[in-house]
Subunit: 157 residues, 2 copies
């Protein structure tokens, strides 16, 4: 049995999702989003991401964090912002002794939908089916759960 | 009297420098670099940056961190790497309760050399003069000291 924390980092909204994987069976544990304070200094927002991930780890005790390789925009300024959010989330996991693994958007889609070019909405639909959720999580939380599922399914192979 | 930690973040080498500023007088406290393990997983290297900054803060007790706004390359992949290193360094300072301030390369050069387009070597030379150092610190450590000096001089104005 393994508890997996999926993270979809972003400077405004960071999605997280915790699942359990045991002998190929997946179980939903928790999911949600960390919203940083708009117009707060950027360092403060990074710290909110660190604190948020720290809290989720303390609460749900995952052993591993699976992090989405952030969307590589053509804009270096966006990449820099996203990179800082990703760095804050990763060190929060590392400081809690979690192992950290990266998955590209293509690997995540392949693992969850079976098709690397799948649409975002298909991923969200499959997350709901695979975890037997009665309602759809928010888009960012669903993306984080998808990374966690990707890690669980990659291990099984 | 204020103790200032200057940080020049980078995924391979992160420079740091600690100075004291009292009534417009600057005093050198410490400087050095955090070298991350080459070929180690990137998350591990980010964690080394966090641990390194954490150690410097615990050892020298600065109240504020001044961080260089990283060089904005045209390459989004480099910006993403640099962003993650910067995020790791900033949250290490924030988790220790430090205030964090950003300074652009132009502001730093202006504050240290009096000229925003100054060459890197001029900055290093002036850092040595302003702090009365008998030897030149390494380039990355000198850059970090320059950010700290910039913060001190900006406050004085």
């Amino acid at each position: 049995m393994e508890r997996i924390l999926g993270i979809d980092p972003g400077s405004r909204i960071t999605g997280y999702g915790v699942i359990e994987s045991a002998r190929g069976r997946l179980r939903f544990v928790s999911c949600g989003v960390i919203r940083t304070t708009p117009r707060a200094p950027f360092a403060h927002r990074l710290n909110e991401i660190f604190d948020g991930i720290n809290e989720v780890v303390q609460l749900h005790g995952p052993e591993i964090a699976a992090v989405e390789d952030v969307f590589l925009s053509n804009n270096p300024r966006s990449a820099l912002k996203l990179g800082q959010a990703r760095g804050a989330a990763i060190v929060a996991a590392m400081q809690n002794g979690l192992a950290v693994r990266d998955y590209s958007a293509r690997m995540i889609k392949q693992a969850v939908v079976g098709y690397g070019q799948a649409e975002k909405v298909q991923v969200q639909h499959m997350v709901r089916i695979l975890l037997g959720l009665s309602a759809s999580p928010s888009a960012d939380a669903a993306d984080a759960l998808a990374v966690a599922i990707c890690h669980a399914n990659t291990l099984r192979i």
